[in-house]
Symmetry: C2
Subunit: 477 residues, 2 copies
């Protein structure tokens, strides 16, 4: 008797072997054909029940969602759509699933309904495929960096500094909101808080990662980050996973090379290791696209898009060139942009990024050398005195997927920037130390993992690519 | 010209090649010999400066911690302790390091001092070795689970439920502590909070992981978890990384097999991939042990301990057997235990666990079948009605490294337990659903990643195996 899983059995040719398998019933047809799934693949294995010799009581309990244990013989399938099936000898119901109560029935459910049942939605084809691809991408990330000499660095999640200013933060405390202790001046007495000071959830591990890159050479973070912004969009989560490599001695060109090579590598990994899931998701997206008006449909299928990114160079365009293109483009002249582009220095909005990527260049684009005053303090100032060595990677359908920069390694320039922004130097003493002692060029970027999963799976809403999404007014499960 | 790193050059035999390398000066000896490190290995490469043809100004700046760029010729070394060295042709100082200010000098620093300089301590041999081993362990974890058919599952960090009761929690809020909004009854108005309800940082992703295991079969989490406990010990952190596999259809025996196989696999990985770092740490620990009184020294070196765990079976002992051993052991009879063991049902303390592992069995021990009333509600009740299918893996020097169980899969038994503990069923509706629809045996465990790093590196204090430790009154950096 071989105890196995669906993925192994489906690719097996050990016919007439006795096998044992456990899984969940997806459908039960003609009182005879169980489509069994155990999560090991998107495909089900057909188990043929000898209904004449099976009690009515058992047959009644073979319902969608029920857990069963099956012993039987692996045989070549007579039916269409599969090569092997199991001739059932013994069937045990492990856990029933009352069809009148079980929410996940074999029919089309709206993604909204499934979000409300996030604990069960992974039992559907779409979400199991998405989560398997997510897992494969996660491994591809670790594999890429490990094979390229990077060390995984776990940035702290609870942080005492709000220096980066990447966004609104969640406060972390044990003071208890019902009776907050105050000091003599009526201010919150943070000395009594758990860490003896005000603390928040991290918005980025970059500054800490820089300290490690300046010792270990190449590091990367892959952990949760947080934004307490009231953004109810299909592109934002309050809690999301971010990947942040940081490399000593890299300049911005090296940084662009790294971002491009990294993204191509992980997408290639998924194309190679998730063929069945991607095929399913490709088909799903194609069906979804058909429901849209013809002029809103994508020009490429999911699979075509993934192959396109894996095989083609990203277009590298300076911010200044991009502004020229945008200023002179049709939508701008015809006043179709919500935010018209009139002059150099404008911050690019999603509509501009999408125009560049989807209409003008029709490929992933890396914009670089942005105006200093719309970018963070730690980015390296160019000799022109007005642009910084920043870069954003823009993807079709997703927009910004990577934001990065060469870091300002010069102590005096960095201190001036910090002072200009009225940040207290004492807050960043340890960060400044890296420029005091053995400073050198270095660069890095942040990649929002969920946006990568969105791109790789073709899912339109970022809430559908993370198991339990956290968004404003929503922390269920 | 080959641009390379120290690890590659040290194992290279491309003599007389022109090479370029960037890194940081560890020491500069006799105005001539730079020991250069770039984080790629614990070993330094010797760079020989032609001091007669180098300006005094440059020579003065070759100090510990300075960043330099070197071009030169790779040659066979004449000196002891290395096979290759670089004959320097060009040397550029990238970033100076004033020896009067730089805290990390080539001498012995206390771990306490280094903790206060956590942003620089990774520039020392000990901490760079620890962090490289930590990174290798992290990859080994992902590799093991991926190769064994598990999917990586990202459990939510911010959680709306406090059901597991694994420990004190940190509250997450955007209400602002200085002016907390109250409702008509004077209670905190959580409707105005970011998520519209009270939220905390997760203490475990297990319950959510169970929902995924019951669809995908085998999943694991690897993410940060939090405890707001005032434990100032060498074994506790307020923020730490935890690994939690969860497997559908596994019983407790399968779970023990998995834990043992997993731990052996990741330790074997480190033994194979971190030879130089482990050798250094092995030597460091041996030196440290020599400073202890003879009767307090370990019987094994670090390397011996790692090999021992990789090669020997863990001893599996029921709680009941363990109590018998403890009740009759010398330290108990001689009243040497702080908490004497008198009867079945006692909760085991660290002193008891260490006695069993270090004195009695002298190997890793898996204790199982604990009294129900000292374990969590979700653990499966045995037929005796008084023990549950819980297990703890105990390690020498570390104590508990894994805690796990077979989960209570029976709806009625689980509901009774929840009701007995006065937990509101509504809080756990989604968890209970997994027992309503297609329930089945399943098991899992949690492994504290930092304890694994401690064991693998021989570091005595858990604060020294995570980049930026968070502990009571400490959230610096």
């Amino acid at each position: 008797m071989i105890t196995s899983n669906v993925a192994e059995l489906l690719s097996s040719d050990k016919f007439l072997q006795e096998v044992e398998i456990k899984g969940w019933v997806r459908t039960f047809r003609a009182n005879r054909f169980i489509a069994l799934n155990d999560g090991s693949t998107i495909n089900n294995i057909q188990c043929v029940v000898d209904f004449e010799n099976t009690s009515e009581d058992i047959l009644k309990k073979i319902t969608t969602g029920a857990a069963v244990s099956i012993k039987g013989t692996l045989i070549e399938s007579q039916g269409k759509g599969q090569t092997v099936e199991i001739k059932v000898a013994e069937l045990e119901i492990l856990g029933e699933s009352n069809p009148d109560e079980y929410p996940i029935q074999p029919k089309k459910h709206s993604f909204e309904f499934l979000r409300e049942n996030a604990h069960l939605r992974v039992r559907t084809n779409t979400f199991s495929a998405v989560m398997r691809v997510r897992s494969a991408l996660s491994f591809a990330v670790h594999k890429y960096f490990t094979e390229n000499g990077f060390y995984n660095f776990h940035a702290p999640i609870i942080t005492g500094s709000d220096a980066e200013g990447a966004g609104e933060m969640f406060q972390v405390s044990t003071l208890g909101l019902d009776n907050v202790p105050k000091d003599e001046d009526g201010n919150v007495d943070y000395k009594k808080d758990f860490f003896g000071k005000e603390t928040n959830l991290t918005v980025s591990g970059q500054l800490e990662a820089e300290t490690y890159a300046m010792a270990l050479g190449k590091v990367y973070t892959f952990g949760p980050t947080f934004r307490a912004e009231n953004s109810n969009t299909t592109r934002h989560l309050s809690e999301f996973w971010m990947i942040e490599p940081e490399v000593a001695f890299n300049n911005l060109d090296d940084n662009m090379d790294l971002a491009e090579d990294f993204i191509k590598s992980v997408i290639t990994y998924v194309l190679q290791h998730c063929k069945d899931d991607i095929a399913f998701l490709d088909n799903r997206l194609t069906q979804e696209e058909k429901t849209k008006p013809a002029n809103q449909r994508s020009e490429m299928t999911l699979l075509e898009r993934l192959n396109f990114v894996a095989e083609n160079n990203f277009k590298r365009v300076s911010y200044t060139e991009a502004i020229d293109i945008l200023r002179n483009c049709k939508p701008n002249k015809k006043k179709k942009f919500q935010f018209p582009i009139n002059e150099w220095g404008a911050d690019l909005q999603s509509e501009h990024e999408r125009f560049l990527v989807e209409k003008h260049f029709k490929c992933p684009v890396i914009l670089f050398d942005y105006p200093a005053n719309i970018k963070a303090f730690y980015m390296r100032l160019n000799d022109d005195g007005k642009t910084v060595r920043a870069m954003d990677v823009l993807f079709p359908g997703i927009g910004e997927i990577v934001g990065g920069s060469q870091r300002e390694e010069r102590l005096d320039v960095l201190k001036q920037k910090i002072s200009d922004l009225n940040i207290d130097e004492k807050e960043l003493w340890w960060y400044i130390d890296t420029r005091k002692f053995g400073t050198a060029e270095h660069s890095g970027f942040g990649l929002g993992f969920e946006r990568l999963v969105q791109f790789s799976t073709g899912m339109g809403n970022i809430r559908d690519v993370i198991p339990y999404p956290r968004t404003p007014q929503n922390a269920e499960f």
